[in-house]
């Protein structure tokens, strides 16, 4: 593969020639960077490597996660590994899952002008503007489910003309939903009570004391749920 196809990219304006098959992150490393900021799970889950770029000659500002986006010829890029954001402090248990729970902490959601820049910029293809719309009208459930796949990379907030920090609105909605709207699990509560009541204490002690052969027999003969 020595004849790998190479492309020119520009990291913060500086030109590097890299194999075309690489992701932005790998290309930066190929070029000699050892990343500290702007690199996390390298698998698209953590939101550390938000990157903005333009292709030479194209007016459009594009975005992507550096670990998930392939380089292109003429790519001018920079990473946005950190973006200053307002994060409200709250006691989730004491809140009611209503519009006012969100608007009292993040009143700026009503400044949304519907430009949809957040949605266009989301590397997870979430409908960000729409989940903010749900928050505005107190539809916590839909705000929570619609925002669920958010990796909190901050690109939405970086582009918002209304200064909204969408991903922090999203996590508040999700925690309100998980804590106050989703039905609680009764079998879980029952098991927690049983454990507190010591129902399994003796059984666990017996297992801890059991000999190897005894355990193996029990294990190899245990029934397996379909």
């Amino acid at each position: 593969m020595n004849a790998a196809e190479m492309v020119d990219i520009y990291v913060m304006g500086k030109k590097y020639t890299v194999p075309a098959s690489l992701t932005i992150m790998n290309a930066m490393e190929f070029a000699g960077y050892q990343l500290k900021r702007g690199c996390g799970c390298r698998a698209g889950f953590c939101g550390a490597c938000a990157t903005v770029y333009r292709i030479a000659g194209d007016y459009e500002l594009k975005v992507g996660l550096a670990c998930q986006t392939k380089v292109e010829h003429g790519m001018y890029l920079t990473q946005i590994p950190f973006f200053p954001a307002l994060k409200a402090l709250y006691d989730i248990e004491s809140l009611d899952p209503t519009a006012s729970a969100i608007s009292s902490y993040y009143p700026e959601i009503y400044r949304c002008i519907g430009c949809n820049s957040c949605t266009k910029v989301c590397p997870q293809d979430l409908n960000v503007m729409q989940y903010i719309a749900y928050a505005q009208r107190g539809d916590i459930s839909r705000c929570a489910t619609e925002s669920f796949d958010c990796i909190m990379c901050g690109l939405c907030a970086s582009r918002c003309p209304a200064h909204i920090v969408q991903y922090n609105v999203g996590i508040l909605a999700r925690r309100l939903y998980g804590r106050h709207i989703l039905a609680r699990s009764s079998h879980l509560t029952q098991r927690v009570d049983e454990i507190a009541g010591g129902k399994y204490t003796a059984g666990l002690e017996a297992l801890m004391a059991a000999g190897l052969e005894e355990l193996k027999v029990a294990y190899n003969n245990r029934d397996i749920e379909d």
């Binding site: 949304c112 519907g114 505005q136």
Partner: protein
């Protein structure tokens, strides 16, 4: 009959009664109102700055969504209707706005103002017809003396809203007749209720509400009917602050009266006048 439906935030939060009764009556009349899958706040106030396109993007989005389905867009909230209708007018008539908005939205098919938005009342008048409506009334509101209150948002600016004669409208009265009620005419029915001042200058708004209520009462009205959640809030809440005190003049959404006239309200469930307390 099937329409694309835009509810707006107010109907989902503070004016749930308006939406509930509107959807219930529409269903009974065989009118299908399909809520758009995704919609955003219309902004509630129509922006007057012509170079600021962002503020009516959500209006254009919902108009385009309805257009794509080949349906008219129906609104129930007067404020949403006002914003969306004016946005539609603007994009149709202002080439500069049209271009900027479409450049921004990048829809599959550009939106040029070809869709139309109608208010629920217009739908009843122009699509179903008040005569047809009258035939479906099961419990006519015979003998009820009700005063229509129009407010500003549905009527003005007259040329753009094209809702009715702005100075001397008749659509709500005609609606009342179709329901079998008597309409009370009084001088303040198209005056502003002052809702935009009700938070930062409550006294002025309260004075305006008092004039409307006093006038309607003096012409024999037993209740007011309106079509706007903002007016509705103002007429109910600020009326409590007027020196007249109790008993307050009841205020209904037009859809609540329709619900009653269509026989959709069970006897026991007929709500006590909400401002009786």
């Amino acid at each position: 009959m099937r329409f694309s439906y835009y509810p707006g935030c107010t109907l989902k939060t503070t004016a749930t009664e308006l939406e509930r009764s509107a959807l219930k009556t529409a269903k009974a009349l065989g009118i299908e109102l399909v809520e758009q899958k995704e919609w955003q706040c219309c902004g509630a106030v129509f922006p007057l700055a012509r170079d600021e396109i962002a503020s009516f993007l959500s209006s254009i989005r919902c108009l385009a969504t309805a257009r794509d389905k080949g349906e008219k867009l129906v609104t129930i909230c007067a404020a949403c209707h006002h914003v969306i209708k004016r946005a539609n007018h603007l994009i149709k008539n202002d080439a500069n706005v049209r271009e900027k908005v479409n450049n921004h939205l990048q829809l599959d098919t550009s939106y040029l103002g070809e869709g139309s938005v109608i208010h629920y009342l217009e739908m009843l008048r122009d699509e179903l017809g008040f005569n047809e409506l009258a035939k479906k009334i099961k419990q006519p509101l015979t003998g009820r003396k009700i005063a229509a209150y129009y407010g500003c948002l549905l009527l003005r600016p007259a040329a753009i809203m094209a809702f009715d004669n702005a100075e001397n409208p008749s659509i709500i009265e005609d609606f009342l007749f179709a329901l079998g009620a008597s309409a009370v005419y009084y001088p303040y029915r198209t005056e502003c209720c002052g809702v935009y001042l009700s938070l930062n200058n409550t006294q002025i708004a309260t004075d305006m509400v008092e004039k409307i209520v006093t006038s309607a009462r003096s012409y024999g009205a037993e209740a007011l009917v309106d079509a706007c959640p903002l007016c509705h809030y103002n007429l109910l809440e600020l009326q409590k602050k007027t020196p007249q005190g109790k008993p307050l003049l009841p205020v209904y959404y037009f859809t609540e009266l329709l619900e009653e006239a269509l026989g959709l309200k069970e006897e026991a469930a007929v709500r006590k006048d909400k401002n009786e307390s």
